[in-house]
């Protein structure tokens, strides 16, 4: 029914067995396996669902990795994966424009959620009892090894605890009864809009509609212990909690404070969720004490390794032989040694360049080439070299400190050199449209850095590119044409911006002000001016601080952009990434940057840069000229 991870852009529909088969291991998953409560935080597409599905028995069983046994041996719990159903999300469940009594709504939506969780518990139990593992298997500890009669007894005991009356024996009977309940709840929800009094009366008659999920879990664990005479720890893994109704969300978060020692709670969430703020404070679980916080953002050093494995997975799917993979994307300007020649890339030469040049190679090295070229065409850069006493003709005898100083602004020099025309002529010859992405941003290291280790972005960019390559006439010994790489990046950026253009702010946060895409565009344009403006800026502003002058509407948009991965939180010692970004005002003071995924659109170097107040950036007259129409025309082109 479902394809593997490298074919599906979203792990949600992929069966756990297939997730296990194509899973790419990294340090984030390692942290998630710990025997503690945890919250996995990350934007859309950053792999949260994959990590959660990987904790399940079928996924662990099908996983092939040298570290598998070592990791599994440390897991002391049986995971219950609970996907959040989009139909729980209040905005999707309510008929548009119709109001439902909030109390009625809360009871019925909670009942749906509860029913969904119970089904998942039975599913996990079923999986653990129907999987037969050799005695020596490291996974043997997960198996529920009881007789058919004991299972029947267990099912009866669970059903009693949950107040259900199955029509037949075993776990199947419970599932059937829960399905039946679910239909009753859904029908009550639909009817409640037309006849709330009648539905209220009905609810009063149905005691199961009043029950709480965490009581059910306790009763389940009791039944399990009684019947099997064994104690077991369970991990409730709530995926995508941000789309659950608020009352449920708060209850799940509160459960991180531990409600029963036989249960761990793991949940995944978006970086920003305004709805958690209002009344979760007094009982809020504490990071460190109650749970471990895990961000899906990979450390920069891990991005390349993870991306290579994703690339290998796609290649394997497309039958591209392993020996071909390392050369597929070719060198890039972003390689540490900056070894590739600009002229060769722009001339369309795609074979790997030999890594040779270095800072120490006088007059033949990459640094010399870039510095000299920019010095010729950019008076401001020439002045900067004079002022800082940097002589490109004399790079051979630099001290370590001096080299470190030069390395700080090499990316600005390279990008400025690539995009500035000879002095006296207009700037930016290649920028016919922002949409058109230049070859400058191609090559393996650059593409990996742009995708920031986000699996969905890697798939969006790499898969279509590799498919086109496989089906093209390009000789298989060659690197994928730079035009094809650039086009794939272009499609990825357009897709993200299209999605962002449909996001609306919180209804409560006012209706006047720039849209999300305009905020991003103004920010990107400001950074663009920093990098490619009239004056060379050695360390340009490429990030911003959300300051107190930002209005609620803009804050709401920024939160949405964080959740989509368009903005990224910049961690530092003063202001670490934190789950405290759960309301508009807690965004204030955070340092954010544009995702590198958007860097090609604004011709930005893939570095952090300095920071400026967002209110100053948005108020800047110079870059506020992009209208909705211009942005749309740029993204989609004109129509006639």
């Amino acid at each position: 029914m479902t394809n593997g991870l490298f074919e599906s852009f979203n792990a949600r529909p992929v069966e756990p067995e297939l997730v296990g088969k194509s899973f790419v291991y990294n340090s984030i998953f390692r942290k998630l396996t710990h025997n503690n409560n945890s919250i996995v935080i990350g934007p859309r597409g950053s792999g949260k669902t994959t990590y959660f599905k990987m904790l399940t028995l079928p996924a662990l069983l099908s996983w092939k990795n040298p570290q598998r046994n070592k990791i599994i041996s440390t897991i002391d719990y049986t995971a219950v994966y609970v996907p959040t159903d989009f139909s729980w999300f209040p905005d999707f469940r309510h008929p548009v424009g119709l109001e439902l009594d909030p109390q009625l709504d809360n009871i019925l939506s909670y009942a749906r959620f509860r029913n969904g969780v119970l089904r998942r518990i039975i599913s996990a139990l079923d999986s653990a009892s129907n999987t037969h593992l050799p005695a020596k298997s490291v996974m043997r500890k997960f198996q529920v090894d009881i007789s058919a009669s004991a299972m029947k007894e267990l099912a009866e005991s669970i059903a009693r605890g949950w107040g259900i009356e199955p029509h037949f024996d075993g776990l199947g009977g419970i599932i059937e009864a829960l399905n039946q309940r679910n239909r009753v709840i859904q029908r009550l929800l639909a009817s409640a809009y037309y006849d709330p009094e009648k539905v209220s009366a009905k609810i009063a008659d149905q005691s199961f509609l009043q029950d709480r999920i965490f009581d059910d879990l306790t009763s389940f664990a009791d039944a399990f212990e009684r019947t099997t005479n064994t104690s077991r720890q369970w991990a409730m893994c709530f995926d995508e909690v941000e789309i659950a109704p608020n009352s449920i969300k708060r209850e799940i978060w509160a459960s991180l404070r531990s409600f029963d020692q036989r249960f761990l709670v793991k949940l995944s969430a978006s970086p920003y969720d305004d709805s958690l703020w209002s009344d979760s404070q007094p009982h809020q679980a504490m990071k460190g004490n109650d749970y471990e916080e895990i961000w899906t953002t990979l450390e920069r050093k891990d991005v390349e390794d993870f991306s290579l494995k994703i690339l290998a997975g796609i290649c394997s799917d497309l039958k591209i032989p392993p020996q071909r993979r390392s050369a597929l994307l070719g060198s890039s300007y972003y390689d540490d040694d900056f070894s590739i020649s600009l002229s060769r890339i722009n001339a369309g030469q795609t074979k790997n360049d030999r890594p040779a040049s270095a800072l120490t190679k006088n007059k033949t090295g990459f640094y010399y080439e870039k510095f000299s070229a920019l010095e010729r065409k950019d008076a401001s850069f020439a002045k900067f070299l004079q002022r800082t006493k940097i002589d490109p003709d004399n790079f051979t005898d630099l001290t370590g400190n001096r080299r470190a100083f030069i390395r700080k602004f090499i990316s600005s020099v390279v990008i400025r050199d690539a995009y500035l025309r000879e002095r006296g002529k207009s700037r930016l010859p290649q920028l016919k449209s922002k949409k058109a992405i230049d070859r400058f941003f191609t090559g393996q290291k650059t593409i990996f850095t742009i995708c920031e280790g986000n699996p969905r972005w890697l798939l969006v960019v790499l898969r279509p590119m590799l498919e086109a390559y496989v089906h093209s006439n390009v000789r298989r010994t060659e690197t994928i044409p730079r035009e094809l790489q650039a086009k794939s990046l272009e499609d990825g950026v357009s897709t993200l911006l299209s999605i962002l253009s449909t996001i609306s702010p919180d209804a409560k946060s006012g209706s006047k002000g720039p849209t999300l895409l305009e905020i991003i565009e103004r920010t990107g344009d400001f950074f663009f001016e920093e990098v490619l403006g009239d004056t060379f800026v050695p360390e340009p502003i490429l990030s911003f601080e959300v300051d107190a002058d930002i209005d609620d509407r803009t804050l709401s948009y920024i939160g949405a952009a964080l959740n989509q991965g368009a903005f990224m939180v910049v961690p530092n010692s003063r202001n670490p990434r934190t789950t405290e970004i759960n309301n508009k005002r807690s965004l204030v003071g955070q340092r954010l940057r544009l995702s590198y995924y958007l860097a090609p659109r604004y011709r930005l170097p893939l570095v952090l840069g300095r920071s400026k107040k967002l209110s100053t950036i948005l108020a800047n007259k110079k870059n506020s000229s992009a209208t909705e129409e211009q942005i749309m025309l740029d993204l989609f082109g004109d129509f006639e």
């Binding site: 989009f86 548009v96 929800l189 006849d195 909705e628």
Partner: protein
């Protein structure tokens, strides 16, 4: 659900007779073009009245509506909109109904068809659609303000909530909206339907606004339907739902031409409770739509429609 479909020119219109003719009263100039071209011969006129506006043709349309035989007006939106609709359409003296969906919004289309399915059986129901003349799209962002079932009875209350989601979606020339919705709902797969056979400029606009139908990062595919062959399109919609249903929870998201909204609503009645019919609310710039000179008429299978009445009754008695 559809007995027959045909198209005709408004310059030489078919004369559609009915006990009651239902149409929207709004600002689009095509709003009452069937009445102004004398294509409708009705004893009564039921107007679903948008809030009074000074935009485009609202004033002229209002004058024309007031000049028709026995005009009745129901305000939209209003708290009694659905109950008034049921009252008028449920009248057992009314045997034949004609409905002009051209300027209705998607809630109106769903409400009218739902009302006909749940009330007294009719002898004949004809649905008419007047396509709009092509106008270049407005260059603005299409922020999705709200999305959800169009009415409670179309909320897929009998579906299997454990199944993955699948979406059948109409495409319009609203920039990025289809992709935005897919991103929002994250279905396992999406089939995006775009209209052909009307105006190639419109077709090109739809293609451009939807990233040339590539939808990177999604499991979505695009398929064309013939705007002037709604019976065939209905067959496709119906058989697609039937094929998807064992494995998926199906959601229908009507965007693009209103005729597809109508077909999706009919399919939601046919698969009552098993599919969700969505409505997507945006804040688009108000724009006029002029008639392009043609109309498409569908005759509905009233026996089949009436057979669904007991399902409605079942839903509401279950409360």
């Amino acid at each position: 659900m559809i007995i027959s479909a045909n198209s005709f020119s408004l310059d030489n219109p078919a004369h559609i007779a009915s006990d009651i003719h239902v149409s929207a009263l709004g600002f689009e100039s095509r709003c009452l073009s069937l009445i102004s071209k004398e294509a409708i011969l009705a004893h009564e006129h039921l107007f679903l009245k948008f809030p009074t506006s000074d935009l485009f043709s609202y004033a002229e349309n209002e004058v024309l509506a007031n000049s028709t035989a026995r005009p009745i007006f129901i305000d939209f939106p209003s708290s009694n909109f659905l109950s008034d609709l049921n009252t008028y359409l449920g009248n057992s003296d009314i045997k034949t109904v004609s409905i002009d969906i051209s300027s209705m919004n998607r809630t109106m289309i769903a409400a009218v068809i739902s009302s006909l399915a749940r009330t007294t059986a009719k002898d004949k129901v004809t649905i008419i659609y007047v396509p709009a003349k092509y106008e270049k799209p407005v260059f603005d962002f299409s922020e999705i303000v709200a999305a959800g079932p169009v009415l409670p009875e179309f909320s897929g209350f009998d579906d299997e909530s454990d199944l993955p989601g699948s979406v059948l979606m109409g495409l319009g020339f609203e920039y990025g909206v289809a992709l935005g919705l897919i991103n929002l709902i994250e279905p396992q797969n999406a089939i995006c339907m775009y209209a052909e056979g009307h105006d190639t400029r419109y077709e090109n606009s739809v293609k451009k606004a939807n990233l040339e139908f590539r939808f990177p990062g999604t499991n979505a595919s695009a398929i064309a339907y013939d705007l002037y062959n709604p019976a065939l399109t209905y067959q496709y919609v119906s058989s697609t739902i039937r094929n998807l249903q064992p494995k998926y929870r199906v959601s229908l998201i009507p965007m693009g031409p209103k005729i597809l909204s109508c077909l999706f609503t009919l399919a939601s009645i046919d698969f009552f409770g098993k599919v969700t019919l969505w409505r997507v609310v945006r804040n688009p710039t108000a724009r006029n739509s002029e008639e392009d000179g043609n109309a498409i008429a569908l005759e509905i299978d009233t026996v089949r429609l009436a057979s669904k009445a007991k399902l409605f009754a079942g839903l509401f008695s279950s409360a």
